[in-house]
Every structure is written in C-alpha cells, then in structure tokens.
C-alpha cells in the first residue's frame, strides 16, 4: 500500500511542478508572439507622418508628397484633413469612400478619433492646428473604445494576479485530490489484495472500474491457496510418513541394539562371534542416529519442528553438547579441546537450546563418523562486536585433525542440495544428514554455516550466530 501512496504523491508532485512550467511557457509564448507587433500599433505613426508630408501649395491646395502617398499605400488607408475651427474636410486622399462625411462637429471628432468612421478604424495625426484622420481597412485593427481602468484596479493588479494563480492552483489541487482519492479508493483494495497474495487468503470486492482486476486477483488467490494446500498436504504426508517409519523402526531396532550389546559382552561366546556382535551394535547405532536425524531433518525442512526461542547462554550450550559427546567416548579416542574467548563468561542469545545443542553435537559426531580411528576435536568460541547498533555475532569454529575432505568433496558439500531436498536421484548427492541438520538449525536461527578444510588438516565447520550479549567489548552482563 505504501507503494501506491508513493505513486499518488509522486503524481501530485509532478502536477505541482508542471503547473508553473505551463504558466511560464504560456507567458513566454505570449511575449514571443506580441513582440513582433510594431510600436506604432494601429498605424498611429502613419497618421503623424501623413500630417508631416502634407504641404499647402501656392494655389491654396494641399499636396501629399510621394512619401506620404507611399505611406498611405502601405497601410491601404485613406486620409482626410479636417480644418480647425470649421470642421470641414479641406483635403482628402484619393479613393475616399463615399460614406465618409466631409464635415465634422467637435463631438463627432471626439468620437471618430477614438473609434471608427463608418466602421473604418481611424488613427489621427495633425498638421499645424488641423487634424489628419487616417481611415484603415475595416479588418485591419480592433480598437479599444473605452481604454481606461480604475487606478485602484491597476494598482491592485499584482495582488489580483497572484490570488488568481493561487486560486487556480488550489482548485486544480482540490480537483486532483478528489479524483485521486476516488481512484485510490478503488485501487487500494486491489493493490492490498495483490500485496497480501503471497502470505494470506485474499478476497477483493469486485466493484468499481477495477472490478476485472479484482476478479483476476481473486482467481489467482484461489489458485495459489489450492496449490499451497496441496503442497502442505504433500509435505505433511511426507514428513508424517518419515515420522511413522522412524517410529516403527525404533522398537525393532531397540531389540537389535540390545541383543547385539548383550552378545558382545557375553564372555561365554567365542571372540569371533562377539566381534560380529560388536559390528551389529555399531551399525545399529548408526541406524539409530540416522532414524533420529531423518525425522528431525524432515520436520525442520517442512517447518513442523517448533523452534522454541528463549534466552540462553551459548557457552553453556556448547559445553553441554561437547560433554554429551565426550560422555559417549568411553575409550577417549576423540578428545575435545574447547576454547573460549578470553574473559568471555556468558554469551547470551535467543535460540532453541535443544536444537543448537543438537547442531553442535552433530558436527562433532560427523567428525567421529569420518574418523573411526580417532582424532582430536577443537571447539572455539569468540564474539564480535556489532557495529552501529547491529547485533553482535558469535563465531563457533568446530574442527578436527582427522582425514578431512578433498577439494571436490568440499565443493559438493557446499553446493549440492541434500537428496532429501532434491527431486533428483543422483547418487553422488548423497551425503550425511548430520550436516544438513546443522545447516537447517543454524538457518532457523538466522545464522550462517561455512564448511572448509581444517586449519592444518582435517575438516572445519564454522557457525555464525547473532547474539544479544556481548554486543560491545567491555560491557558486563547485568
């Protein structure tokens, strides 16, 4: 929805910018157009010139010089000279229309000089005290007859213009807002519906001019939900199946494991038989781990494993996982060296204690599984201060000095999905579930896992997790 509001705001801003631009553009065009108008607008200069070019001959007749004639021709105008005092026309140019009177009263003169004589727009000049009137073609000019304004109005012109502009702007804004809100009201539910589509069930009312789009959103929603249900059902079936199988396998496996252990310690049996019983026991333990891992991995993958977040001490979790592991190692073939950052007492974070413990335990037992002859395990924990208010990080480094992995194996481990998560049947993809679970658990905690070669040799797993404390180097826990 934020996006839509941003869109409306952007359009509004665009409008606010466009209006002044349009205003100035119009002003510029008006100026450019009127610029070319001559300053002797309406032929006033011509009348003056004609007055100047008139001369009184010795015969008592008036003559217009050639330049004056030319001026009249240029304007396609006629001219008359009205004598001062009498009001008689004492001279006129050739081709004077017949309807032009040859005598004028003072009142007529005041009228005609301002406006028209028989619809011919006039301009006036003088020759001495006499009046020169030029008559222009009827369509040459449009004259303003009452060309005076109140002084107050002219004085208030800037204010008036400004208020006109503001009023226009406000009106435009209002109209836009009304239209915009109307559009928004019909767009909003549709947009909200579309935005909510990936997460939840959506129904948009199919009304207004976007009813078709709303209908399409509803149809997409139905399709998505149906697919989601089908997928969920399939995932549940799959996880349920795995859980069922692992449940059913547990009881028989208990007996295999139990009797194998009993046979192994039965001193009345030959050594060879007890050795075989030991193999059965060891393999059964592997199956036991596999069953547990398979169940947990499928639950984590399909989000059926509840992640119970609580505030915990990561140091304690690591120690407990290592202790659980060491308690199983009765023969002492897998010594663990746990090192903590100097002075780090507690390392607090939010997480699921059991799952995190399981992740660390899985890394350790992965080393055990790949190094049946025994190896040393190293567990290190140090913290990094969070920058700019971000959470601090805990870095857990679990490594061994065992056989390690080749470059190709490492690449495969890093890049290929586990067969459980992959539809393919590629045998080369099959690697242990243990590390998959580590990745799943760490991902569920928003952390990262890195697989690498050990510092000198062997294998290394680095886990990075967000922590609550210490988030700065010097604080002490409260």
């Amino acid at each position: 929805m934020k996006g839509t509001i941003r869109l409306i705001r952007r359009f509004l801003l665009l409008m606010v910018c466009v209006v002044p631009v349009l205003f100035f553009l119009n002003l510029a065009m008006f100026i450019a157009y009127t610029w070319r108008e001559r300053s002797d607008n309406g032929g006033w200069q011509a009348a003056i010139k004609v007055g100047e070019e008139l001369s009184l001959g010795s015969d008592g007749q008036y003559h217009l010089s050639a330049a004056g004639q030319q001026e009249l021709a240029d304007y396609d105008a006629w001219a008359i000279l009205v004598e001062d005092g009498t009001g008689d026309v004492v001279w006129h140019s050739e081709g004077l229309p017949e309807e032009i009177p040859l005598h004028y009263s003072a009142a007529e003169i005041s009228w005609y000089t301002r406006g028209y004589i028989a619809d011919y727009p006039t301009t006036v000049g003088s020759r001495g005290d006499d009046l020169v009137i030029l008559g222009h073609p009827k369509t040459a000019y449009w004259k303003m007859m009452w060309n005076s304004f109140d002084y107050g109005m002219i004085a208030g012109l800037p204010r008036m213009l400004l208020s006109f502009l503001l009023l226009n702007g406000a009106l435009a804004f209002l109209i836009y807002m009304i239209l915009g809100t109307g559009i928004l009201r019909s767009v909003k539910p549709v947009v909200q519906g579309m935005e909510a589509l990936p997460e939840q069930d959506v129904h948009v009312r199919e009304k207004g001019f976007l009813s078709e789009v709303a209908g399409a959103v509803n149809r997409v929603n139905e399709k998505l939900r149906a697919q989601e249900r089908a997928l969920r059902k399939r995932e549940n079936a799959r996880a349920g199946w795995i859980s069922g199988v692992s449940h059913d396998i547990r009881t028989p496996l208990t007996m295999v494991l139990g009797y194998a252990a009993k046979l192994e310690e039965d001193v009345s049996l030959p050594e060879e038989a007890r050795r075989k019983a030991r193999v059965i026991r060891l393999q059964s333990v592997k199956m036991k781990n596999l069953v547990g891992n398979l169940n947990l991995a499928s639950k984590l993958e399909y989000q059926m494993q509840p992640v119970r977040m609580e505030e915990l001490n990561l140091t304690a979790v690591l120690r407990q996982a290592a202790a659980d592991f060491a308690n199983e190692d009765l023969e002492g073939r897998y010594p663990i060296d746990f090192r903590c950052q100097e002075g780090l007492g507690a390392c607090r974070m939010r997480g699921d204690r059991e799952l995190l413990q399981r992740a660390v335990y899985n890394v350790l037992s992965n080393s055990r599984q790949h190094n049946p002859e025994g190896c040393s395990l190293f567990m290190e924990l140090w913290t990094e201060t969070g920058k700019e208010g971000k959470a601090g990080k805990a870095r857990i480094r679990l490594s061994d000095d065992g056989v390690g992995v080749s470059e190709e194996q490492l690449e495969t481990l890093r890049s290929t999905p586990h067969y459980m998560m992959d539809g393919g049947t590629g045998v080369q993809l099959r690697h242990g579930l243990g590390l998959l679970i580590v990745r799943q658990i760490v991902t569920a905690h928003g952390g990262q896992v890195r697989l690498d070669h050990g510092p000198a040799w062997g294998f290394l797993v680095e886990i990075v997790l967000d922590i609550l404390w210490p988030n700065s180097g010097t604080d002490t826990p409260s």
């Binding site: 547990r250 208990t254 069953v291 304690a316 120690r319 202790a323 009765l330 663990i336 090192r339 567990m379």
Partner: protein
C-alpha cells in the same frame, strides 16, 4: 569393555538400589524380555513386567513398585495416563521408554513429573545409567556411603570420611558433589554445576566454582594437585570417578 566399566561403576556401591522393585510396562513382549534381562543381568533383583495398563495397575496394587519404566503407547491406554493413576496411589519415580521422540510427548511426560525419558532405540548402558540416576535421585535419603579413591562420602550427614577423620561439607560443596555423584562417571559441565549450586541464573560464578572445587579436592583427594576422583575436563567441566574404576 565400556560395558564392564559401567557394570563396575554401577554395581559397586549401590546394592541397596538394586533391591528396588521395578515395574516395566511395555506392550511388546520381546522388548519386555530384553529390558528385564538387561536389568536382572545388571543385578536388579526385583523386576516385574506388564503388557497393559490394567495389568500394570493390578500389579502395582499388589506389589507396590518403587520405580516404573513405562512405554507411552499401550494397547488399553497410554503411559501418561497410567502414570497419573500410579501417582494417585503414592509417589513413584517414573521413566518413560518410548518410540515417540516427539517434543510434545517429552513435555507432556515431564509435565506429569516423569523423572526421565528414554527414546527408543537405546543402548543398554544408556538405559542403565538413566535408571541408576533416577534411583539415586529418588532414594537419596537411603544413600549409604559412596566410596572414592581416598575417602568415603556420607551424603546423609554431609561429611567426608577419611580414616578416622570426619570433614564436614559446606552447603555448596554438598550440592556440587551431589550433582557430580548423580552423574558419576560422566562429565558435568561448568554451567550445570553452577546451576546446581547457584540456581537459575548461574552467570559469572565460574571463579567461585573453581574455588569450591579446590576446597572439595582438599577434602577428598589424597593429593589435591593430582586429583584422581574429581577430574577436570578442560574447558568443559568436571567428572566424579568412584572407587574401583
């Protein structure tokens, strides 16, 4: 090899616990047979089994078991239900034995006051350890003296016996030794020990813990700088080794 070690550890001093009446309830006959044989072989003298809730209840009525090992899924009910009924007649420690490793089950079991929970499949030694731990915890007042390499621990009187000498244990030392003894032969983490001695928010007591451990060693070890009973597992925690290892 591990098995002998464990047998030795478990059989040394707790014969009084081996006399406890243990009721095993599981619908799978062969499994009952297996677990019962593991227990009797271990020296537990009184083990009886039942396949249904009804049988278990009538047996409990007549025989008054002192520990119940229960399967969650039974033909005529479930183990949780059975435990509430058993508890209605008197307090009895219980350990669940089940193929259902689901988290919810675990919480339900502990909510009813189950003392422990073992998910199938399990190794015999795992089961024996859990049973021994539950018994030690539940019947600690009957606790006799525990033999260590250089002394004996008398939990009843909170004392260390060295020859004729009797050294009293402080409250913290008693708590720490108790936690170590309940997990004898296993590593108890620094955090686990701090929690046992200082409660729920055991941060920042590591130095105190070291001091207490030092004092305990002075009381129980022949040579406190070369401990043989209370061992340090570097970086992780401590382990109490009983005599005869």
């Amino acid at each position: 090899m591990w098995y002998y070690y464990l047998r030795e550890v478990l059989s040394m001093e707790y014969d009084y616990l081996k006399q406890k009446r243990i009721l095993l309830v599981d619908d799978e006959e062969q499994l009952r047979e297996l677990v019962a044989s593991i227990l009797t072989q271990e020296g537990y003298a009184q083990v009886r089994t039942a396949g249904t809730v009804a049988d278990a209840l009538s047996l409990a009525e007549a025989w008054k078991p002192e520990l119940a090992i229960l399967d969650v899924m039974l033909p005529d009910g479930d183990g949780f239900e059975l435990l509430s009924k058993l508890r209605g007649k008197g307090d009895i420690p219980a350990l669940f034995l089940t193929a259902r490793g689901e988290e919810e089950d675990k919480f339900q079991g502990f909510g009813l006051g189950a003392d422990d929970y073992v998910v199938k499949p399990f190794l015999p030694r795992e089961l024996l350890f859990r049973i021994a731990a539950v018994l030690r915890r539940s019947y600690k007042e009957e606790c006799p003296r525990v033999k260590l390499a250089a002394c004996e621990l008398d939990f009843e009187r909170a004392e260390v016996l060295r020859g004729e000498e009797r050294l009293p244990l402080t409250a913290k030392e008693f708590e720490l030794l108790g936690a170590l003894y309940r997990n004898a032969g296993r590593i108890v983490t620094i955090d686990g020990l701090c929690e046992a001695a200082w409660g729920d928010n055991p941060y920042g007591y590591e130095n105190s813990l070291m001091a207490h451990i030092r004092r305990i060693r002075e009381k129980i070890e022949e040579n406190p700088s070369k401990p043989v009973s209370l061992l340090t597992v570097k970086g992780l925690g401590y382990k109490l080794v009983l005599a005869g290892k």
